[in-house]
């Protein structure tokens, strides 16, 4: 198994992330849990990919592997460029002001105080938090905190942004605006984004491609290219139609697990699926 993180020296290559036959097991021998099973996935430079799946599909495990926070048990992970990671919680540091939070990656990279403050203010401006730099994280709302976390991620000058259900805890209104924001940032920076969500409509709203993962073990079940023109709305018929198709496929996967209940596998009933029709003919 190898992990390669190469700084971008050859921009002509178009693959930013490449997983080749990647498996990841936790625990040992007999009682090992296989989180990922023989995943092969390529993400092109500048692509916006959403990983969607029910509980236990190894979405977060995949991000950890790509981020280099974890190593695969089997297989190759190749990442071209630096990665930044955002979580469901903003994970801002409460002892720093919002500006200093955004500036910390720059400080760790050795940038001088004046420069990094200027850069942090620019980034805050970009996420519509201009003038909020002097405040403390707890003084911000959940949506504002996620925008600050986005600014902090952008400060890392990474080519790849990994997002682990970043808007999962936000209300629908705020999430809507953040979708617009993220789309804008993505299109203006050319970032490669891998976005994990259990919200199928969110995936259809944001991504170029939806990768559907199965659960326990996580495998690539299906892929859906999203050929809907941008800017999009989450409640547009195209987005909702695609979400319904993905949801049907996802439910078929979940049902398959219901049949395996004797094996003690978990139901995927805590996922949030779009308001789509529940009958489907995709069960196999």
């Amino acid at each position: 198994m190898t992990i390669t993180a190469t700084p971008v020296t050859a921009p002509q290559t178009t693959t930013a992330i490449s997983l080749r036959g990647v498996s990841k097991a936790f625990g040992r021998h007999g009682d090992a849990v296989v989180a990922l099973d023989n995943i092969t996935l390529d993400v092109s430079r500048g692509e916006f990919v959403c990983l969607v799946g029910a509980s236990g599909c190894g979405k977060s495990t995949s991000l950890n592997l790509i981020a280099g926070l974890d190593r695969p048990t089997v297989g190759d992970v190749t990442v071209q460029g630096r990665t930044a990671l955002m979580f469901q919680e903003a994970a801002l540091f409460p002892w720093l002001t919002v500006r200093d939070n955004v500036a910390l990656p720059l400080r760790l990279a050795g940038m001088g105080r004046a420069d990094r403050h200027r850069r942090a203010d620019d980034l805050l401006e970009q996420v519509h938090l201009g003038g909020q730099g002097g405040r403390r994280p707890h003084e911000l709302s959940g949506g504002m905190r996620q925008r600050a976390a986005l600014a902090r991620a952008l400060a890392q000058e990474a080519e790849i942004l990994l997002m682990d259900e970043p808007f999962g805890a936000l209300d629908a209104m705020t999430r809507d605006l953040l979708h617009d924001e993220l789309e804008q940032v993505w299109s203006s920076t050319g970032l490669t984004i891998v976005f994990v969500t259990h919200n199928v409509r969110e995936a259809a709203r944001l991504s170029d491609r939806i990768v559907l993962l199965t659960s326990l073990p996580g495998k690539v079940a299906d892929e859906f290219p999203v050929a809907i023109a941008r800017p999009r709305r989450i409640d547009s018929p195209e987005v909702m139609g695609l979400a319904a198709a993905v949801t049907d496929r996802l439910r078929a996967e979940v049902r398959r697990h219901g049949d395996d209940m004797a094996m003690g596998h978990r139901h995927g009933d805590d996922m949030a699926m779009g308001h789509s029709h529940s009958d489907d003919a995709h069960g196999d």
Binding site: A67, L69, A84, L85, F87, E89, A91, F93, P94, W95, L96, L104, P105, R107, L108, A109, H128, Q132, R136, P137, H138, E139, L140, S141, G142, G143, M144, R147, R152, A155, Q156, M173, T174, L177, D180, E181, Q184, I228, A229, P231, R232, R233, S236, E238
Partner: protein
């Protein structure tokens, strides 16, 4: 297809306005009460408590439980205290005691912090001495004095030895607990933005441990002050008048009014220093948003 396909500039303008509106609705814009009001609201319960304590004390004296020369009332003690505050000897004693307190505390701070950090970082050290530190914390400092006097005689060093042993375990434990309770998400976030090794400690783990560390510092001060008073009663160094040995002297000469006046001084110094730590604690927690603004 969405109907509002617009140019980028217009979309951005709209988005900016929507964010501004939402932020204004959602952000916690806590209004702070005026300074005078804040001071008054924290001061009056303390004043009331002091008045109540003096009242109970006076009531016990009036009940005739003990003779007046054994247990004088505040009406006798407070004038003596006032008189005491005007003497040079008293201030010399206070300055010697405070110098010992500060020196001992700073030593305990350094030793406790170094040990705490080492134990928090090194697994082997933790299993070896982790519980020993808690054990030392529960040991009454006065129990160290026989050993201290054997080792150092009736000297300043005997007192320092016990003050440091009294305070350092609390400080070390505060730091250990603080590092232990750093949320894993913070560490993960720190790693992701490029903090590693010493940088991770400097920028993430130690700041995150600060509130618990300050609680340990506060407790360490309480232990240091107690140990110091015990030390000054037991270890009387020649030509080094201190609050403790003035107290002992007052008892030997049956000057109960002076004795009680000195006890008030000890209590007040303890409270004042504790207030400083309390302030630091509240300031940190307010900055971090750990205090409910509706309070």
């Amino acid at each position: 297809m969405a109907t509002d396909v617009q140019t980028d500039g217009v979309t951005d303008q709209k988005l900016a306005e929507e964010f501004a509106g939402l932020d204004a609705l959602e952000a916690h814009l806590g209004s702070h009460p005026s300074r005078a009001r804040r001071i008054w609201s924290t001061a009056w319960p303390k004043v009331a408590a002091i008045v109540l304590a003096l009242g109970v004390w006076q009531a016990v004296v009036w009940s005739g439980w003990k003779d007046d020369y054994v247990l004088p009332g505040p009406d006798k003690v407070l004038p003596v205290l006032w008189e005491l505050l005007g003497t040079a000897d008293f201030w010399r004693a206070v300055s010697i005691t405070m110098r010992r307190a500060v020196t001992g505390y700073v030593l305990a701070l350094l030793i406790g912090s170094v040990i705490g950090l080492a134990v928090a970082r090194i697994r082997l050290l933790r299993s070896a001495v982790g519980s020993l530190i808690t054990g030392l914390q529960t040991m009454p400092s006065i129990a160290w004095f026989p050993l201290a006097i054997l080792l150092f005689g009736l000297t300043e060093r005997a007192i320092m030895f016990v003050v440091v042993l009294g305070a350092a375990p609390s400080i070390a434990n505060g730091l250990i607990a603080g590092v232990d309770h750093v949320p894993p998400l913070m560490v993960r976030a720190g790693r992701m933005i490029g903090a590693k090794g010493v940088g991770l400690y400097r920028h993430v783990i130690l700041p995150a441990a600060l509130p618990t560390y300050v609680a340990g510092l506060k407790q360490g001060w309480a232990f240091a002050w107690r140990s110091l008073m015990a030390g000054e009663l037991l270890v009387i160094v020649a030509n080094r008048p201190s609050i403790g040995d003035q107290l002992q002297l007052a008892r030997e000469f049956s000057r109960s009014q002076t004795m009680l006046a000195l006890m008030i001084v000890i209590l007040v110094i303890g409270i004042v220093v504790d207030t400083v730590f309390g302030r630091a604690d509240v300031t940190i927690r307010r900055r971090w948003g750990l205090i409910d603004h509706s309070d």
